[in-house]
């Protein structure tokens, strides 16, 4: 027998607990869809993760990070930093700092300290037209490190704002800059320049594709002199962008979308002027920003870890796209005194080596529109 008073009190407590409990329990059953990605320095790669050689530079939420020996280091505050690029001698970084209305190229030490501002794209203090500001994106240096290449939004005419490839002396100003490419109107223009050692420039050009759809597509182009009309290296239907030159300069990695909401990792031989057949390496992920390891051991790239999630860092070993040539089994050497019976020639079977990409990070959210940089 239980006292009614005690029972009522107990039930009241029980009801409060179970009512709030079920409410709180349902709250815990929410998916993690809207959970913001962790900061890289809060979540280094898993202990068992693949440790990449050298130092990789990436951008997330407006900050630059380096990944070295399995640990992330934050190089800059979250203040619009993106698109890191390593000087050819590996001594410093170039990066873009973006604000609401303009972006500028900066030279940084490898630890993120600002060394110099290389462009000045903010409109003057007495300007009332937002179009007086400018964008600089995708900075690159020539091998001699004396010339800066970038995508810059000039010339522009009213609503027609496109980026073109420009070069300017490092330490100079935009008045000394040279226009290298003529972008197509109302396309977004020419981006991602890569100055080559032979003086040519490889870049991504946007254009309207074939009728009847006339979809906007991307193509890799090459031009050998400033102000000349270059030529396409990839077809319209391949819709390829984000080129990356291998350390030996003889291969290109890129992504191709085939005019769809997909992106395949593609590599192709390259001789400095022409491109060979495209080889699709990864076709089941939304690949972005392929970047060659400086030691040639593979390709790093960004892709979601699960469908429609933030972009993580992945690594694909070289074996995946250049499988080692199988060494033939040694043929038996007849020894004196032995008699070799004639038998059917054995058929050698080499099972195909499936090399899967390695997921290096989880729960982060790298800026997939920002190229990576990788040093020894």
């Amino acid at each position: 027998m239980i006292s009614r008073f005690l029972l009522a009190a107990g039930l009241a407590v029980l009801m409060v607990i179970s009512g709030f409990g079920s409410y709180l329990y349902l709250g815990t059953r929410q998916s993690k869809l809207a959970t913001p990605p962790q900061k890289p320095i809060a979540a280094s790669p898993r202990a068992q993760a693949y440790v990449l050689p050298g130092t990789l530079y990436l951008a997330q939420s407006g900050a630059l990070y380096s990944l070295s020996a399995g640990r992330f280091h934050q190089l800059t505050p979250e203040d619009g930093w993106m698109q890191p690029y390593l000087y050819p001698d590996g001594s410093s970084l170039l990066a873009v700092k973006r604000s609401g209305y303009h972006s500028d190229v900066f030279s940084l030490s490898r630890f993120g300290a600002v060394q110099a501002q290389l462009t000045n794209n903010a409109a003057g203090p007495r300007s009332y037209d937002t179009a007086d500001n400018h964008w600089s994106f995708y900075p690159r240096l020539t091998p001699d490190m004396r010339t800066l290449f970038m995508s810059y939004d000039e010339p522009k005419y009213g609503f027609d704002v496109n980026m073109s490839v420009w070069s300017m002396p490092v330490g100079g100003n935009i008045r000394q800059a040279r226009l290298w490419t003529y972008s197509n109107d109302y396309t977004g223009g020419d981006v991602e320049p890569i100055p080559l050692s032979n003086g040519a420039v490889l870049y991504t050009k946007y254009d309207y594709g074939d009728p009847p759809d006339n979809k906007l597509i991307a193509q890799l182009w090459i031009t050998t002199r400033a102000g000349t009309y270059g030529r396409a290296l990839t077809s319209i239907n391949d819709d390829c962008l984000e080129p990356a030159l291998s350390p030996n300069g003889r291969e290109l990695a890129m992504i191709c979308t085939h005019e769809k909401q997909i992106s395949h990792l593609v590599i192709a031989p390259f001789d400095g002027a022409n491109i060979g057949p495209l080889q699709e390496v990864i076709t089941d992920q939304l690949v972005a920003q392929p970047t060659w390891a400086p030691d040639g051991s593979g390709i790093a790239y960004l892709a979601p870890a699960e469908a429609n999630g933030p972009f993580q860092l992945w690594f694909l070993r070289k074996d995946a796209y250049h499988p080692p040539v199988p060494t033939p089994m040694p043929s038996p050497t007849p020894t004196p005194g032995t008699h070799l019976e004639r038998s059917p020639r054995p058929v050698l079977y080499y099972p195909p080596v499936v090399v899967k990409p390695i997921q290096v990070t989880s729960f982060l959210g790298f800026d997939a529109s920002s190229p990576l940089a990788w040093s020894n």
């Binding site: 349902l26 059953r29 869809l33 959210g365 997939a368």
Partner: protein, 338 residues
């Protein structure tokens, strides 16, 4: 205590006590009821928003108002499991216009054939010059402004010769909130979208202000603000509204893909995001029917996307409008929206 007399103190105390078995039954009932109440409290905001947003009654603002159709309980024209057509409307519900008198910057006819899992999306140019159902002639994006969803539906139905079963209206702020509530979307942005005069009318206090935007090209994860920039900008697109329509279709498909991962417990947050920013004539019961159907469509490339580029339309109409070539449009529409 004598029989029939006043109960003693012990007896009164005994009556105030309950047997253990009864107490246990009461406890179980209490736990069940309070748990249900807790669950109800969790889902009440979502339910309230759903009830408020769905089942909108649609009428045409004309000299003789006509009820086009009403949501359940009246019989729906959509047969169970049969094909149906929905008109998607998107508006910049900013302070330039009074509430519910906004232009529809985006008008997309969607036909779904559940049996074959076929989806067709036809983007209607917002500047299309047509006879409006409310009288007169004007750009088709004004129909909603003059007469609400009913006028927009009637205008589309009469000009394109299609039967529209339902409509869904989304405000642009709602689009941002929905995309943020589902944690952003993955997309391949087809080109750098640059605009020096992009409207700065959302949460800025200045409905006529503008800003610069630059959405980079390629595969990326977009939050609501950047996804809206990608779909809304039309200044730097040779195809103007047509290019924008194509981008809108891409984002809709990406949202649908991401929405497949939404758990029931996410509904209150989603409801809070879309509160006041989404209206539909689809009844709540029908929404419940359609959710599993939407989840079963797993191939976004199978979705037929149609944009009425020239020669289906051409510019040079009155007030910067687009003129329709109905002799080409109507056979196309009847092919995909029979």
């Amino acid at each position: 205590m004598p029989l029939g007399g006043q109960p003693g103190r012990r007896a009164r105390a005994s009556r105030r006590r309950l047997k253990l078995s009864r107490s246990l039954v009461l406890a179980v009932l209490a736990v069940a009821l309070s748990s249900a109440a807790g669950g109800l409290a969790y889902f009440i905001p979502a339910a309230a928003t759903a009830i408020q947003a769905t089942g909108q009654i649609v009428s045409v603002a004309s000299p003789t108002p006509t009820i086009l159709f009403t949501p359940s309980p009246s019989p729906s024209p959509v047969t169970q499991g049969g094909p149906f057509t929905v008109l998607l409307l998107g508006s910049d519900d900013d302070s330039k216009f009074s509430s519910d008198h906004v232009l529809t910057q985006s008008m997309i006819l969607v036909r779904v054939v559940p049996a074959t899992k076929q989806v067709t999306m036809l983007s209607i140019p917002r500047d299309l010059w047509v006879p409006l159902s409310v009288g007169g002639t004007g750009k088709i994006d004004g129909a909603y402004s003059y007469g609400g969803a009913g006028a927009a539906i009637a205008t589309v139905a009469r000009n394109f010769g299609v039967h529209v079963d339902d409509y869904v209206w989304v405000g642009l702020l709602g689009l941002i909130k929905v995309i943020d509530a589902i944690g952003g979307i993955d997309m391949v942005t087809t080109n750098p979208v640059m605009d020096d005069y992009y409207p700065q009318d959302i949460n800025s206090g200045d409905p006529y202000g503008y800003q610069r935007i630059a959405v980079m090209a390629g595969p990326q994860h977009l939050d609501g603000t950047h996804a809206l920039q990608y779909v809304r900008s039309r200044h730097n697109d040779l195809q103007s509204d047509f290019g924008r329509s194509r981008r809108q279709q891409q984002v809709l498909i990406a949202i649908r893909q991401k929405a497949k991962r939404v758990a029931p417990a996410d509904l209150p947050n989603l409801a809070a995001a879309i509160a006041g920013e989404l209206k539909t004539s689809i009844g709540l019961d029908r929404v419940a029917e359609l959710l599993p159907l939407a989840a079963s469509f797993d191939n976004p490339d199978a979705i037929q996307q149609i944009v009425l580029l020239p020669p289906y339309t051409h510019g040079g109409g009155p007030g910067g409008s687009v003129t329709a070539n109905w002799s080409l449009i109507l056979p196309l529409v009847h092919q995909y929206f029979p």
